[in-house]
């Protein structure tokens, strides 16, 4: 029941259904994070949390190119990647609340959400910890020979890690379908990327390892989708690793509670006006006549209801039983 494409991208034409779905995914991530920002202040959510608001077009622009058989490896700022890859939103919320019926039984938390049925191999609390894992999953893709790919999400922060350099080189040496997505949001923790990334050119670094790399506007879903689409296609065709550096911003701090003293006072306010991927997407699809504003409004309402339900269910659920402390350290011991 495929409908004809209405947005003629160079490689992967988008149908109406795909556009609606992309919007819904981005909106779900946004509302999930904005709601967490509020709920965290009640003190009910344990630990600390890194929000993805502002970067939605990257996760969704990448993951809309993938199927459940493709892999992603995520970061400490992973909620957006999880939702974009299809993780259950209610299960995620329960996990972040530390509930027994969370996606990882309340034993992972915000930084350790995984869903193997969806090809989501895990968020990661270690900056630069995921890229080597993605190369390993890419070896599995190559050996299966089924055209699947493995994506490593990382930020400007992890682009400085030695583990990442090792991983990129190994991917090129083995010519496996590993793709490195760099979400350059301008800050690694509380330090500017213009300070910490010596060359100020993450894509250029990737080219130095011998893979093609392109820069795109991370606030534009279509730019991410098309740029990444080219890289995914060549990887599926056995042409090896590639990278995309998406220039983007985050609307919140490094973690919740971060006073963000390293940012100009009106910076996030300004960026919410100029670099909001949802506004940019909505303006484009309505101006082009691809979608009606009313359709998007309807999605907005449905998403808000979903997030309300996720929070209500998470709050009503119970913590893991104490015996769970000892479970699943090993498959057998």
């Amino acid at each position: 029941m495929a409908t004809p494409p209405i947005h003629p991208t160079t490689l992967a034409p988008l149908t109406r259904e795909q556009l609606l779905r992309a919007y819904r995914q981005m909106k779900t991530i946004r509302e999930f994070e904005e709601r967490l920002h509020v709920e965290i202040q009640t003190g009910e959510i344990p630990g600390f949390t890194h929000l993805y608001s502002g970067q939605e077009a990257v996760a969704v622009g990448v993951c809309e190119l993938l199927s459940d058989a493709d892999y992603i490896v995520s970061t400490h700022r992973g909620h957006g990647h999880c939702i974009a890859k299809g993780c259950d939103v209610v299960g995620m919320m329960k996990e972040i609340y530390g509930r027994h019926d969370g996606l990882c039984k309340g034993k992972g938390g915000s930084m350790h959400i995984a869903d193997f049925d969806k090809g989501m191999l895990g968020a990661n609390g270690i900056v630069g910890g995921g890229q080597p894992l993605a190369v390993g999953a890419a070896i599995a893709c190559r050996n299966r020979g089924d055209g699947t790919v493995s994506i490593a999400f990382g930020g400007d922060g992890s682009s400085n890690q030695g583990t990442v350099f090792e991983a990129m080189n190994l991917a090129v040496v083995l010519k496996v379908p590993a793709l490195f997505v760099w979400e350059n949001n301008g800050y690694g923790e509380h330090t500017g990327a213009d300070y910490s990334v010596g060359s100020r050119d993450i894509a250029g670094r990737c080219r130095g390892f011998g893979m093609p790399a392109e820069v795109c506007d991370g606030s534009d879903f279509f730019a991410v989708f098309e740029t990444m689409g080219r890289m995914v296609s060549r990887a599926r065709a056995g042409q090896g690793p590639a990278a995309v550096e998406a220039r983007i911003t985050r609307f919140f701090g490094h973690f919740e509670g971060d006073p963000q003293l390293y940012r100009a006072k009106d910076e996030t306010k300004r960026l919410r006006e100029s670099m909001d991927c949802l506004k940019i997407f909505r303006a484009r699809v309505t101006a082009e006549g691809w979608l009606e504003a009313g359709e998007l409004d309807a999605i907005d309402s449905e998403v808000l209801a979903l997030i309300d339900r996720a929070v209500a269910e998470a709050r009503a659920s119970s913590p893991p039983a104490e015996a769970e402390l000892y479970a699943d350290v090993y498959a057998e011991y």
């Binding site: 995984a114 869903d115 193997f116 910890g129 890419a138 599995a140 090993y330 498959a331």
Partner: protein
């Protein structure tokens, strides 16, 4: 029964299991060797200690993967491959190199199953060549297993002979947890009876190498043949020992050690590691907690000193616990 070296016994295990299970891959520095270069000769190495010989010609370069010298990427790739359905065997070459890959071992592979709520296994085997005795200096001679035994989620295997090495490796390759498989370099050429076919040895079951009544001696890896010498020499004087080789330190067969101490009341632990927070101190602590009332004498620990491994022959000989020191410790524990 065929006689094989420990090197060939482990090689046997890899050949048999790779033929049986197409999901097993081997990766590491020079596991084959000869990729690139000017001669074009593949399998120029077969593993720096020859343990992976013959795998590349038989199984091809999608399953026998030479990597750059990038330990984090090797171990990380093994972890990612395991999450994606393969059974990787990663060679770290020298156990000392665990330092440049440690995050991937203890923060990633060890924790996947637990922190993801039991929804995945991580069946990766990491091979590490360890131990002093070959004058390889401070960065190529350590044991490292004590540190890693303390990490929940990892299994730690430390064979002392060819027969055990093959059976334990096959168990590792058929299991579903990350396994650190420590191979003592000085034991690679040591020969023993090894059947040609596949067999498994369960983890967490110690081997009773000698039976006796006066002293319980627990030893690991190369310390097992050293302890055999000491125990056999003392047997001629009428001092007989239980010599226990735990074979795996995680899981650890505590019961076999405790049962032996109930009979002997005396314990000597021999461990090539440095003494602090070591397997030796771990066993001594376990016996103090669970077997104190059986003890007739203070526990004797025979370990390396709290120093790096020295280079000069004479110093390295003084560093490694010797059969003479083990014998002296057994005599000492008999005095009380």
């Amino acid at each position: 029964m065929p006689i094989k070296s420990m090197r060939d016994a482990i090689n046997d295990a890899l050949h048999l299991e790779m033929a049986r299970d197409p999901s097993i891959i081997v990766l590491g520095e020079d596991v084959s060797g000869g990729a690139g270069g000017t001669s074009g000769e593949r399998e120029a190495s077969g593993g720096i200690f020859g343990v992976t010989k013959g795998l590349l010609p038989r199984f091809g370069d999608h399953r026998v993967i030479d990597t750059p010298i990038s330990e984090s990427a090797i171990i990380g790739a093994a972890g990612g491959a395991a999450l994606a359905g393969l059974r990787p065997v990663a060679e770290l070459m020298f156990a000392d190199f665990v330092g440049v890959s440690l995050d991937q071992i203890f923060n990633q592979l060890a924790k996947f199953r637990y922190m993801f709520g039991g929804k995945t296994n991580c069946p990766a085997v990491i091979r590490l060549a360890m131990g002093a005795g070959m004058n390889m200096g401070a960065q190529h001679s350590q044991t490292m297993y004590s540190m890693l035994t303390s990490v929940p989620g990892l299994k730690v295997v430390i064979p002392s002979n060819a027969y055990d090495a093959k059976g334990l490796m096959i168990t590792a390759l058929r299991g579903n947890d990350p396994v650190l498989f420590f191979e003592h370099k000085a034991l690679y050429p040591r020969k023993g009876e090894v059947p040609d076919g596949a067999y498994t040895i369960p983890f967490g079951e110690a081997s009773l190498v000698r039976e006796g009544e006066h002293v319980t001696v627990v030893a690991l890896a190369r310390m097992v043949p050293f302890a055999e010498k000491a125990v056999d020499a003392l047997a001629k004087e009428g001092i007989t020992c239980d010599l226990i080789d735990p074979r795996t330190t995680s899981p650890m067969d505590e019961d076999t050690i405790l049962e032996s101490i109930e009979n002997t009341g005396r314990l000597v632990v021999v461990d090539e590691s440095n003494p602090r927070c070591s397997v030796a101190s771990d066993i001594a602590g376990m016996v103090a907690a669970r077997g104190f009332h059986s003890l007739k004498a203070p526990v004797q620990l025979v370990t390396a000193p709290h120093t790096p491994v020295p280079f000069a022959r004479e110093l390295e000989r003084a560093y490694v616990p010797s059969p003479t020191r083990i014998e002296a410790a057994i005599r000492a524990v008999m005095k009380d």
